[in-house]
């Protein structure tokens, strides 16, 4: 009798464990979409809000510069390097790409391929011109690429201070528009960001 009771208890326990396990397996991580432009304050490190602030401030300032606004034709610009002088890993290319996108959308600037896009450009020209596969009148011919009048380059630097309870980060993003022929810096601006995290 006692043995039967024990067996019954064990069966109930096994069922309970199985059902709990099944319940645990069926419920996954909760996913939800958020506002991509919402202010992100997870920590004081470089984040999406910093990227958006920098790109928008620089784009607005650049479009108001004399080199762009006073130009009769849309000047041709190319992206050069933005140096990351901070201790963090920051993909500066994302910043310049975002600036480039907004400038192109404004219609006041045209962009020539930058050094990073050159391998694909060269391969495409080679494919069209030297494979012998294409109709001559439709080929994008070698030697007709347009040189950029200006290049955009800059840097991002940071000053970080820590105490037991406070972390203070100061970012300064600097961008220059340089005339490729004359070497003159036609426009320059900077964006400063201060972030303080407390426990």
């Amino acid at each position: 009798m006692t043995m039967t009771l024990n067996h019954q208890k064990m069966n109930v326990l096994a069922l309970l464990i199985t059902s709990l396990s099944l319940a645990a397996c069926s419920s996954g991580p909760q996913v939800r979409y958020g506002d991509s432009k919402a202010v992100e304050t997870v920590n004081a490190d470089y984040g999406s809000t910093d990227l958006q602030m920098i790109a928008e401030a620089m784009t607005r300032s650049l479009l108001q510069s004399k080199a762009i606004s006073a130009s009769k034709d849309a000047p041709i610009v190319t992206l050069a390097e933005v140096k990351n002088k901070t201790a963090e890993y920051i993909d500066t290319r994302v910043i310049t790409d975002k600036i480039r996108t907004q400038l192109v959308k404004s219609g006041q600037v045209r962009f020539a391929v930058s050094v990073t896009e050159m391998p694909n450009q060269v391969e495409e020209l080679k494919r069209q011109n030297q494979s012998g596969l294409y109709k001559n009148s439709t080929i994008s011919k070698t030697g007709n690429m347009q040189g950029a009048q200006y290049r955009i380059e800059g840097s991002i630097a940071s000053i970080v201070k820590n105490t037991k309870d406070v972390k203070d980060v100061f970012y300064v993003f600097n961008l220059n528009l340089i005339n490729n022929e004359s070497g003159l810096i036609e426009w320059a601006d900077e964006k400063e960001i201060r972030k303080t995290a407390t426990r």
């Binding site: 928008e56 034709d73 849309a74 404004s106 219609g107 050159m118 060269v122 080679k126 030297q130």
Partner: protein, 355 residues
């Protein structure tokens, strides 16, 4: 006393008149002013328009591009003269071994004289054989070597004299390049000129620089009834083959370029006046990506065509700059892709952050 008083008063009066004359400013001459202010305008050709050309029926002849190729024949002569004494008197026999090598003038100057590659073939200094000073025994580059085969003490002696002579002979070639001027003729036709065919100029074997005497050709009627002659002389032509790395890639480009520089004059056939003068240049390029890896061989025909078209475009620009033709005759529409597209700022794409 009265006389002195009168004289004193007259002197005072005269002095007063003189002072007044000096202090008074001259009245401006209204007719002289414009002459003084107007600066003579620089002499300029009156602009010739296509309409005016059609009305006046102006014609022009375009010569083929003249050239002069300077060459030098390098000569190196070894003469071995043997003198032997016989009973009937001295007998002289000589063996002459000439060597002639034709090279470009600049190469002759650069290599042979300064000890370049030709020096090994001709191990002596080269002088102009046509120059009397250089052939003068005292100044020539001859290197006499005198040796004797037999001791001088013997009664019958043999003397061997070896003479080395070397020098260059200037050789100029004159002619016309037939294939560079046609695009220029085409642009002049587009401008409204009637282009007259010129008679070709043939050089003689003993031709000198009088080959470039265009006035002589005009007077000889080589250009028919043409009002103007556009006359060009090839200044320089060069073919370069360079390889360049493309930054940011592992590729390179091989670029072969034909550069042509021509000195042009436009001459009024009635007055022999030069009405336009300039240096035109053209370049034909052939570019191959990774050409060095694929054994790329350029096409000279393609380079010539591109260079002649480029030269014609430059000639057109220069002639327009000197008011000889209207600018951009027959050119296509201006590229319309670079007009600035100004859009209204879409406020939804911009977000303002307060500090």
């Amino acid at each position: 006393m009265r006389f002195y008083q009168t004289s004193f008063i007259m002197c005072l009066g005269l002095a007063g008149v003189l002072i007044t004359g000096c202090s008074s400013t001259p009245k401006p001459n209204p007719q002289a002013l414009p002459l003084a202010q107007a600066e003579p305008a620089p002499p300029q050709n009156p602009a010739i328009t296509a309409k005016a050309l059609n009305e006046e029926s102006k014609s022009i002849a375009v010569t083929d591009i003249y050239f002069k190729k300077e060459g030098k024949n390098l000569s190196y002569i070894e003469e071995t003269r043997r003198q032997s004494q016989s009973s009937s008197g001295p007998v002289i026999s000589s063996v002459i071994t000439p060597k002639v090598m034709e090279v470009d003038a600049d190469k002759a100057d650069a290599s042979a004289i300064t000890g370049g590659p030709n020096s090994s073939a001709f191990p002596v200094k080269f002088t102009n054989l046509a120059d009397p000073k250089s052939t003068d025994p005292s100044t020539s580059a001859s290197t006499p070597v005198v040796g004797s085969e037999a001791p001088e003490s013997t009664s019958s002696s043999n003397h061997i004299q070896t003479m080395k002579k070397s020098g260059y002979e200037a050789k100029n070639e004159y002619g016309e390049l037939r294939y560079l001027a046609n695009p220029i003729r085409g642009l002049l036709i587009k401008s409204g000129y009637k282009v007259v065919q010129a008679r070709p100029s043939v050089s003689t074997p003993t031709q000198g620089d009088e080959y470039f005497d265009i006035v002589r050709r005009i007077k000889a009627g080589d250009f028919g009834e043409a009002n103007y002659v556009l006359y060009g002389v090839l200044a320089e032509v060069s073919l370069t083959d360079n390889i360049y790395d493309i930054p940011g890639t592992s590729s390179s480009t091989q670029q072969v370029a034909l550069d042509v520089v021509v000195d042009f004059n436009v001459i009024d056939t009635n007055t022999s006046q030069i009405v336009a003068s300039f240096i035109g240049s053209g370049v034909g390029n052939e570019v191959k990506i990774d050409g060095k890896d694929n054994g790329f061989k350029h096409s000279m025909a393609k380079l010539m065509k591109l260079a002649s078209i480029s030269l014609a475009e430059d000639v057109q620009k220069q002639l327009a700059g000197q008011n000889f033709i209207t600018a951009h005759p027959g050119s296509g529409p201006v590229e319309g892709r670079n007009f600035k597209r100004r859009l209204e700022d879409d406020t939804s794409t911009l977000k303002v952050y307060g500090k």
